[in-house]
């Protein structure tokens, strides 16, 4: 396909100035939050109306041109990485909050609305949107749907999939499909669940109806310091085992704590080897009660020091370091690489220890800051891309960590998605028939494979090649571990 010809066709769908092709104009779209992968887009389109999205997709469908949807580009798995011969479809102009209905506690928003903007708009009504990725000031609701994003409060309040009622998508044929509904369930298959987390492979999200929750009367946090990550890990398991579902339960290891402290001066205990932030919310009495129970468990699990937020300012300060932990770690080294495996909570201590050991083997430093209550790890590997071979070593180390997650019964991605980044590890998590079934599901929505090709599901051929390679080097001990 000739680019100029395609641009001409697209100019019939939307104004010419909303179609970008100059290298300097398309450059900002060459990467998402995972900057190790870059690809200059061929064509970028910036529609403002759903009908334009329909027209664009029709043109791409007729001409067999790949399409990559993009929200805010904060994704951490290269999901929005452009296709070299495709159209990058940015939803960034879809920023209207269409409606907030107080009585039914729902908001109808366009896909480019920032996650935090929904909660801000709902705040005067005493409501908020619960899933709160750390990137919430920037990431879009459309991106959240596509990734099934989580946040620090999702142990208690669920992931994106639990907080959606309805999604409108435009199919690759340009048709509008409404999935879910205004009621709690809809007729037919649960396509809403299927599309949530589908990384832009099944359709382009153009409107989202989210559930809003009443803001809890009060939230308080405990900051607990430990001299050992394994003790902190068992404290996490002990809290859950006691029947408590904290509003937030996050861990930072020593390196992450020190980095965060140096960055935001939250007064973190810098000599600790692990810090837990445990949040409780509800009525004042309920919070007091739960805080007491958590205190007792943290102490008996070996916490050296406990601090309690005395007021809202202090609570936010506890969180400030946690929320800024990624950039804080980013200051320690020229580059860092963030991993996202989830493991059964009982294996936390073991897996963290293995991560440190592997780090020594690979000669790379690592800091851990993560959703401990969910067992969702985020090891941040520090490296310098300018040093020859260091990125490759980092990738190999990251791959090992993901395989470790699968080995202990977990998964290669808890919330950041597969994208292009973890496409190889999909081969170790799923067997061929299951992968083939995924391809079949994809074809039900997009027969020609035009929506975000090359992401999320590896070809069986790719897995076979990888398998050969791994067996050859005798590196992958459990190629097809059963997960049940």
């Amino acid at each position: 396909m000739d680019r100029n010809h395609l641009v001409n066709l697209l100019s019939q769908c939307l104004p010419r100035e909303s179609i970008l092709t100059n290298p300097e104009d398309v450059k900002p779209f060459e990467t998402d939050g995972l900057s190790a992968y870059k690809q200059l887009p061929w064509i970028v389109v910036l529609p403002t109306e759903e009908s334009q999205v329909q027209a664009i997709l029709r043109v791409c469908h007729q001409n067999k041109v790949p399409v990559v949807a993009r929200g805010s580009g904060t994704g951490l798995s290269g999901g929005a990485l452009p296709h070299e011969q495709g159209v990058l479809l940015s939803l960034s102009k879809f920023t209207k909050i269409i409606n907030i209905d107080v009585l039914s506690r729902t908001a109808v928003v366009q896909p480019g609305v920032r996650n935090l903007a929904v909660s801000e708009a709902a705040a005067p009504l005493g409501l908020y949107y619960a899933p709160d990725p750390s990137s919430q000031i920037a990431c879009s609701i459309g991106g959240n749907v596509a990734e099934n994003s989580g946040g620090v409060h999702c142990l208690k309040y669920g992931l994106t999939v639990h907080n959606l009622l309805k999604v409108r998508i435009v199919s690759i044929e340009g048709d509008i499909l409404e999935l879910g509904g205004d009621s709690l369930d809809a007729a037919g298959y649960d396509l809403l669940a299927l599309v949530t987390g589908s990384e832009g492979l099944l359709g382009v999200v153009t409107e989202v109806t989210v559930k809003l929750l009443p803001k809890p009367q009060l939230a308080k946090a405990i900051l607990a310091a430990f001299d050992d990550v394994e003790k902190a890990s068992s404290a996490v398991a002990n809290i859950i085992a006691a029947g408590i579902i904290p509003a937030g339960l996050e861990m930072m290891d020593g390196p992450a704590t020190r980095a965060a402290e140096a960055f935001v001066h939250a007064n973190y205990p810098v000599d600790a080897e692990a810090v837990l932030i445990c949040e409780s919310d509800g009525t004042p009495d309920e919070v007091a009660d739960e805080m007491d129970r958590m205190k007792a468990i943290l102490e008996s699990s070996g916490a050296l020091e406990l601090r309690y937020s005395q007021d809202e300012a202090q609570r936010l300060k506890f969180w400030a370091g946690r929320k800024a932990a990624f950039p804080a770690v980013g200051r320690l080294s020229p580059d860092y690489y963030c991993i996202d495996g989830t493991i059964p909570r009982k294996t936390l201590g073991y897996v963290l220890k293995r991560i440190y050991e592997l780090g020594e083997e690979y000669g790379l430093e690592v800091a851990n800051v993560f959703h401990a209550g969910d067992g969702n790890l985020h090891p941040l590997i520090l490296f310098d891309a300018a040093k020859e071979g260091e990125f490759e070593r980092t990738e190999a180390y990251a791959g090992k960590i993901l395989e470790l997650c699968v080995e202990v019964g977990g998964t290669i991605t808890g919330e950041h998605g597969v994208g292009v980044e973890k496409i190889n590890q999909m081969c170790s998590q799923f067997d061929d028939p299951t992968l083939a079934c995924f391809h079949g599901v994809k074809a039900c929505f997009d027969e020609d494979g035009l929506l975000n090709p090359g992401k999320l599901i590896p070809t069986l051929h790719r897995c076979a090649e990888l398998g050969k390679m791994h067996v050859h080097h005798n590196q992958l001990p459990h190629p097809h571990l059963p997960r049940f």
Binding site: V102, L103, S104, R105, G158, V161, L177, E178, G181, D182, S183, L184, D185, A187, G188, D190, L191, A193, L194, G197, S198, L201, P214, K215, A237, N238, I240, A241, G243, I244, I245, G282, T283, D285, T342, P344, R345, K346, H371, D374, G409, G410, T411, E415, H416, V418, M426, F430, P433, T434, C437, G440, V441, K442, C444, L456, I457, P482, R483, F484
Partner: protein
């Protein structure tokens, strides 16, 4: 059939001879949906807990396990299935629970079956053993096919194993009763839900609104003061009778319709007894109205309707799918069950 190999061989055999299969748990929901097929696949022998560690909040079970057995095992550890699935006579299986996608009184406040499904093992229409999702709470690897199986009524495959998220049992519960009319009740339920109160179930029937509160005792007490009304004694009985449809308000001699609507929808104005649940979002009606009348009313209330029980043998009937969605349903059915052998005649077979 007590092993995956058996089930898979059986499906392969049926598939190669183009024989249809009725997948059956205990048959506890056959009053609602029932299929007539060449062969019966009874899942009850494939039963038992595979893995359960309370501190993980995850249980993995074989699909033929009785729901009552699961509930008992959880109870010992102070945990529950938060969506309160109906047990219909105590015989429902976990596979049937997931396939039917039915949830109980707590659904509006804690989520539905599909919200708690973490992973599924499935035999597809050509006998392949597939694994989706996993055993951890957060998992976005691959398409979320596990949740797609919830409510698909076995039309896409034989669910053989399920991993579910489980939750701590609420520490304390209390049910309030308040007298009011239907539209006041709908407003009250929605308004209560927009305040930070520990609601866990609501119902309205014959002028009485009932609200269950669950959680820390202090929070329940504070909320009950705020909401007013009187305490309902023996409240568990009431909620269980709704969960399992044994309450006398379900007149089993007349067709029983389930309308799933926007929670704030005004009274539907259909003649017949109406029971409201789920904060207004689920309405049961014993009514002789024609299906098309019911579907129209459901659509106007921004929802859909299903015929849930009727006097004569079950003939599944529900609001028509949006035409735009039919091709995708057909293709999905074909992807998982290319020869169309599973549960002929049930919704999901397009």
């Amino acid at each position: 059939m007590n092993s995956i190999e058996h089930i898979s061989d059986f499906v392969k055999e049926c598939s190669s001879h183009n024989r249809t299969i009725k997948i059956s748990g205990s048959g506890s929901k056959s009053f609602w949906v029932d299929s007539h097929a060449d062969q019966l696949l009874n899942m009850q022998d494939y039963a038992g807990v595979i893995d359960y560690e309370p501190s993980e909040l995850v249980m993995t079970v074989k699909a033929g396990t009785l729901l009552t057995d699961v509930n008992r095992i959880l109870e010992k550890e102070g945990q529950v299935l938060a969506f309160e699935p109906p047990t219909f006579g105590g015989e429902g299986t976990i596979g049937g629970m997931v396939a039917s996608g039915l949830s109980g009184p707590r659904r509006a406040y804690a989520g539905s079956v599909r919200d708690y499904v973490l992973g599924i093992r499935l035999i597809d229409g050509i006998g392949q053993d597939l694994h989706f999702g996993g055993k951890v709470i957060k998992n976005v690897a691959g398409f979320d096919v596990s949740r797609l199986m919830a409510g698909a009524l076995g039309s896409l495959g034989v669910i053989t194993e399920v991993s579910l998220k489980v939750m701590p049992k609420p520490q304390y519960e209390k049910t309030l009763r308040l007298s009011m009319n239907e539209s006041q009740a709908i407003h009250f339920m929605n308004q209560a839900a927009s305040k930070p109160l520990p609601l866990s179930a609501t119902s309205f029937y014959q002028g009485e609104l009932r609200i269950r509160l669950s959680g820390a005792e202090v929070a329940v007490r504070a909320a009950s003061k705020e909401l007013g009304g009187e305490t309902l004694e023996n409240a568990d009985q009431w909620w269980q009778s709704l969960q399992n449809q044994t309450a006398s308000c379900f007149d089993l001699t007349k067709p029983l319709w389930r309308l799933s609507v926007k929670s704030t929808a005004q009274p539907l104005g259909l003649s017949g007894q109406c029971l409201i649940e789920w904060g207004g979002a689920q309405r049961w009606i014993n009514s002789e109205h024609t299906p098309s009348q019911i579907f129209k009313v459901a659509q106007e209330a921004l929802g859909h309707a299903q015929l849930f029980r009727q006097g004569n043998p079950a003939q599944p009937l529900g609001s028509p799918l949006a035409t735009s969605l039919i091709p995708i349903h057909q293709r999905l059915k074909k992807n998982f069950d290319p020869k169309g052998i599973f549960n002929p005649g049930l919704p999901g077979n397009f």
